[in-house]
Symmetry: C2
Subunit: 198 residues, 2 copies
DNA sequence: CGTCGCATTGATATCGCTCAAATCCGGTGG
DNA sequence: CCACCGGATTTGAGCGATATCAATGCGACG
């Protein structure tokens, strides 16, 4: 049922957290509003979104069960993007004040929190690396390599291929075409809702 | 709150830091080697680089005077990229162990360090947002908007335009052409080694 | 069933990449 | 002081990969 690797909600934060639910399509916070809360996603899917000049969505981050989000905002006065529940979502919400207090009061928690931010930073840098690749097939290959937990080379795709296309910074048509081509030429293999790099 | 515009080396770290210099072209650390140190760049320019399959450089991060680098690596066993001094560079080097000890011993420093990581995270997310834009002119506009300190709309370009092109994820030829076109159509204005968005 | 969104494939246009060449500019050595 | 050199800058021509527009099938869900 739950991912065994699901990162736990830090016990030290539990007394300060309140549980909330949002139905699909609900806005959790908006860009420009004051950063009063940090969130942990218990279940569902939340996207952090900015809008381009033409109104198109830019997905800065997609949080899934076990992820914190808005965690980098605590020392910024205002949120810099919208948070939108894609599916019905359950979150644990902690006030930024409680969090900073806990950081100063509990050195072990501070260390954990720094570790968490470091992981996020490395993950986003990996995405920068991916978006720096020019061809669609290279981005797909990079996604399969960096998403693969070591050995097998099998990567399960969460959500739709359309979402994956957006994450890779290409259109869904190009993703379909390139995947089909890579499969034809024997570079990858489809398996259920995932892929294997050969 | 404590968001100093001028990045300073935290006084609490000074007793643990050693000063080193690297000449242009020198490798400071390599991907895969153990993460023993965290660096602060006093002067010069350092790039964090990974290499694509064709051997092309992917610049994950470009550190300038006042930036920390490898700061996200302290809870990872190995560096995940190369660090290369582009110009002669002077750094302050702190061992990962001293840093974690200080984090646990000094709550005020822990808070500052978390603030620093948050800034880095927001900066990298901004770069992701930029790389998600499809057209060169949109990326340039985004760069000028997000790089501009508030009011004036004037952004000074550090380094060469070639470097900027790499940062924007386009070739330098395209950058030159697009800049010229945007200037012709009155969208931007060149001023010395910078640009103004109109 | 009808509808809606994802998946897939086709046709075409376009933007940016590649290769190429000319100029500029700062530094270096004679 | 000047000739030279390397790298940045700039512009040109052509091509190819990807975006865009379009149409169809398919499965889920009410």
């Amino acid at each position: 049922m739950n991912n065994p690797k699901l990162p736990a909600f830090p016990p030290a934060l539990r007394p300060h957290a309140s549980r909330l639910t949002y139905s699909a399509g609900k806005m959790i916070f908006r860009a420009g509003s004051a950063t009063r809360w940090v969130y942990y996603l218990v279940s569902g899917c939340v996207r952090l979104i900015r809008r381009g000049r033409a109104g198109e969505e830019i997905v800065l981050h997609q949080a899934r069960a076990g992820d914190f989000f808005a965690e980098a905002s605590i020392d910024s006065a205002r949120y810099h993007c919208d948070a939108l529940a894609m599916e019905a979502a359950t979150v644990l919400r902690v006030s930024a004040l409680d969090l900073t207090n806990l950081i100063e009061a509990d050195p072990e928690f501070a260390r954990q929190w720094i570790s968490l931010l470091g992981q996020q930073l490395r993950a986003v840098r990996t995405r920068v690396e991916r978006l720096s690749l020019k061809s669609a097939s290279e981005r797909i290959r990079h996604f399969l390599l960096s998403g693969a937990p070591g050995a097998a080379g099998y990567v399960k795709v969460n959500g739709t291929l359309k979402d994956l296309a957006r994450d890779l910074g290409i259109t869904h048509e190009t993703l379909y075409r390139t995947l089909a081509g890579m499969e034809r030429s024997g570079q990858i293999e489809r398996q259920g809702d995932g892929f294997r790099l050969l």
